[in-house]
Symmetry: C2
Subunit: 127 residues, 2 copies
């Protein structure tokens, strides 16, 4: 796989990957992939991540069914990070929002506001 | 600064930040910030990064003048990463492209193609 030759994994064997919506470009989440996760993601056409807290490879949306279908793949000038444009099923965030970046910081007032709509109820999805 | 209380810096004191164009949402680059860099970025309204290779804080575009003016600030559900929507002066990538993610991997043909236009000539900017 030509892509793998271009990438540099960090000292833990991971590379950060930005996941964006392929239609509106919105950043959905930032995840970490090891070499296996990049390979599996490309081969299956579905985002796979290396879940650091569990130390294992998993498909994004394993529990919720909210998978991410890969549409386009980009990598940066130094091969230190990836961008995947995906079709997001339901929503990316476990808190029920489309994007994990649903909180906005407002410097002027030093305040935080919710800037996204809730798409699902986490209590009903993660039982 | 309320934002800082919500963020988790990694064991090196860094947090990954995704920089996107505030108009079209395109991902421009992924950089790392320490606590100082986040503060300076918010206070000055210009992206500051912790340059790992040089082990120092710097304003993005220090050499080229291609600075990034902060328009909006988002942080993820776990406080592990940031998204800054910015007005990019000239271009984000030192290679002369608007985005650092100017190379696209095409899984079907296992090939790589340039998917962005060159905005400036690096040899003329970095002398």
């Amino acid at each position: 796989m030509q892509l793998l030759d271009k990438l540099h994994f960090n000292e833990k064997g991971l590379i950060p990957s930005v996941i964006v919506d392929y239609q509106d470009g919105q950043v959905l989440t930032l995840c970490y992939m090891n070499r296996d996760a990049v390979e599996k993601t490309i081969e299956a056409g579905k985002i796979h991540v290396f879940r650091r807290s569990q130390n294992r490879l998993m498909i994004k949306g394993e529990t919720s069914g909210h998978i991410q279908l890969v549409k386009r793949v980009f990598f940066d000038c130094e091969g230190n990070s990836l961008v995947f444009a995906v079709e997001q099923k339901v929503a990316a965030c476990h808190a029920g929002y489309k994007t994990c970046f649903y909180r906005e910081y407002i410097p002027k007032t030093d305040s935080i506001q919710i800037s996204g709509d809730k798409v699902f109820d986490p209590d009903k999805v993660y039982k």
